[in-house]
């Protein structure tokens, strides 16, 4: 949630190798291998558990190697407990939230970075300040609002409050302050371009890499969001994956744990695939966005 905020720190550019002085010794590799193992093992074990029967998962020496039930469990989770529908819902929600956050954040970030207007400093501090407000402070009235509007258990109740985020505005502002020369904007104005033209022909092209990174970060966050969706949606109605998982997990012992963990797998694998293919860019984006002053 609030963790994807960013920090003030004097940092040049990610990936700059100047600061890396020493070659790593064997101990470094051992320690890093342990860390990588600890990071990856629960994900691997999720796959293992999802490929066994429910009885096997809760038997004493826990299974370490994949079984043969993966396809059966997937089919069951997909058809019987509707993880398929939850997957579609989550994709729609995360996609809409990412698109709109990127668009609105770029516009606002551009205004804060390059356009002179009254109250800019104060308003920017306000944007930053809102990042520390926990969602707990708004969920009770929000719940009342969406029930009054008849939006309970409807996806828009999750999408609308997330249309744009302070994090995104600040992120784009930080990027554009450095990446977009004022002269470029002024030259475009001299040529008689109005603001929307400038956005389209000057700002968007310059901002594209940051927009891509922000899009991925927001997508991951919206995909994994739990607290508010858990209140606004129900596992049996219109759940996102996280809400559906909460429904599966509740009541614990009577439930087929292999199916629960198959659901967890369904919710994790799409993002892991994204990470496997775009990992370098995401890593670069987190660090660049997170630490630029």
């Amino acid at each position: 949630m609030a963790r994807t905020l960013e920090t003030p720190a004097p940092v040049r550019r990610f990936g700059q190798s100047a600061g890396r002085q020493h070659h790593a010794g064997p101990l470094t590799y051992v320690l890093l291998a342990v860390a990588a193992f600890v990071s990856l093992f629960p994900l691997y074990w999720n796959l293992v558990a999802a490929s066994h029967t429910g009885e096997r998962v809760v038997e004493a020496p826990a299974p370490l190697l994949p079984g043969k039930r993966l396809l059966d469990n997937l089919t069951f989770a997909w058809n019987q407990v509707d993880m398929g529908e939850a997957l579609v819902n989550t994709t729609v929600v995360a996609g809409l939230v990412a698109l709109s956050t990127v668009l609105f954040s770029t516009l606002a970030g551009f205004a804060f970075a390059k356009l002179p207007f009254r109250g800019r400093g104060v308003l920017l501090s306000l944007v930053v300040a809102t990042m520390t407000i926990p969602p707990q402070l708004s969920v009770i009235p929000l719940y009342q609002i969406i029930t009054d509007l008849g939006w309970f258990d409807q996806l828009q109740s999750v999408v609308l409050p997330s249309l744009v985020a302070a994090f995104g505005v600040f992120f784009m502002r930080q990027f554009l302050v450095e990446a977009l020369p004022v002269e470029l904007v002024e030259a475009a104005r001299m040529d008689g371009a109005h603001s929307l033209r400038i956005i389209w022909h000057v700002v968007f092209p310059v901002a594209r890499p940051a927009m891509a990174v922000l899009g991925m970060l927001v997508f991951v966050q919206a995909w994994n969001d739990f607290f508010w969706p858990f209140i606004a949606l129900t596992p049996d109605g219109n759940p996102t994956l996280q809400v559906a998982l909460a429904g599966l997990g509740a009541g614990n012992h009577s439930v087929n744990q292999a199916v629960v963990l198959t659901g967890a797998l369904i919710s994790t694998v799409p993002l892991l695939l994204v990470f496997a293919f775009l990992g370098k860019h995401i890593v670069g984006g987190i660090t660049a966005g997170a630490v630029k002053s």
């Binding site: 920090t7 890093l32 516009l107 009235p141 659901g263 990470f275 660049a288």
Partner: protein, 334 residues
């Protein structure tokens, strides 16, 4: 820093016309006619148009609910009912409620045992990743992988690993010769298990943030330290850590905020008794208590009061942190 100076200067040379009466504006814009009036409007209003979506969304879904929650906290409100004024009663009720103090203490202890090891390990990992490495892309992506996992998925997996009867962790402990640990109903083991989930998900993320800061530390600082005969450990303590202090402070703040809001991990870890934070409330956090008050008991006024206590706590923590960092800066400057 340099950017904010420039930002202020931009404000002082705006091409936009100073505020003036409608009459004079019409006269001045007449040479260009409609086009130039539109242009001027474009220049003056467009920044506000661009930032409007954020502020409108925040007003509707952030600020208004925040204030309304504050008002609700001064009332008795049942789920679906009308509020009746109670003044500060909800708050005084909290002060005498053992559940509240229990939840507050749990939030604190789980927060500490998840945040401190998490950040220390992240520092260590970042230091290791900062060496010249083979396979550095793999290591980075691997330690970031838990960040791609949702609270729900991670908790469900760990709940199995930590299961007292058949979980792999007790299996491992048994193999080493340590008796089985009750990871569910014993207070500290349960809190540790929940902290492990939080730590697992966030360590890699913080490590990468530290790594980026470390890579910006000027090389000559290390060279000077080497010339003075400082060991690598000494360099880490005396050069790296002070140089990335703002980043460390930032991660402390963000982790603290996250820990204050902890909800999904304890709820899902507790399974059927998750909402009350375990059979004996042994890992009930403030967020869980708020949810239980609001949506199980239906006492929205009480729940709102808990939400506002969380805000006050965050303000307090933020204030302390600001004081500490100012104190540190002064010490360095003096």
């Amino acid at each position: 820093m340099a950017t904010s100076v420039r930002a202020e200067r931009d404000d002082s040379l705006p091409p936009a016309a100073p505020p003036s009466s409608p009459g004079s504006r019409r006269r001045r814009s007449s040479p260009g006619g409609l086009r130039s009036r539109l242009y001027r409007w474009d220049i003056k209003a467009i920044p506000y148009v661009f930032i409007a979506p954020f502020f409108l969304t925040f007003a509707a879904f952030g600020l208004f609910p925040l204030l309304y929650t504050g008002w609700l906290s001064l009332n008795r409100v049942e789920l679906g009912g009308d509020p009746t004024w109670k003044g500060l009663e909800n708050y005084t009720d909290l002060a005498t409620s053992e559940f509240f103090w229990n939840a507050l203490l749990n939030t604190f202890t789980i927060g500490v045992i998840s945040t401190v090891p998490q950040l220390l390990m992240a520092l260590g990992l970042a230091h290791l990743l900062n060496y010249r490495l083979r396979g550095r892309g793999f290591f980075r992506v691997a330690i970031l992988a838990p960040y791609a996992t949702s609270i729900a998925a991670a908790t469900l997996v760990f709940a199995q690993l930590f299961n007292t009867d058949y979980g792999m962790i007790n299996g491992l402990l048994d193999w080493i010769g340590i008796g089985p640990v009750d990871w569910e109903s014993s207070k500290w083991p349960a809190q540790i298990a929940i902290s492990v989930i939080v730590t697992w998900r966030w360590t890699g993320y913080n490590a990468l943030i530290y790594l980026a800061a470390m890579q910006a530390v000027p090389q000559d600082l290390y060279e000077a330290a080497s010339l003075d005969g400082a060991s690598r450990w000494r360099q880490f303590i005396s050069v790296t850590i002070p140089s990335i202090r703002p980043t460390i402070l930032f991660t402390i703040i963000v982790s603290t905020i996250g820990a204050t809001q902890l909800f999904g991990e304890p709820m899902l870890y507790g399974g059927s008794v998750g909402i009350s934070g375990g059979s004996g409330n042994q890992f009930q956090t403030l967020s869980l208590l708020m949810y239980e008050k609001g949506w199980v008991t239906g006492a929205l006024g009480q729940a709102s009061a808990i939400a506002w206590v969380m805000l006050l706590l965050l303000l307090l923590i933020g204030g302390v942190q600001a004081l500490v960092s100012r104190h540190n800066r002064k010490k360095l400057g003096g």
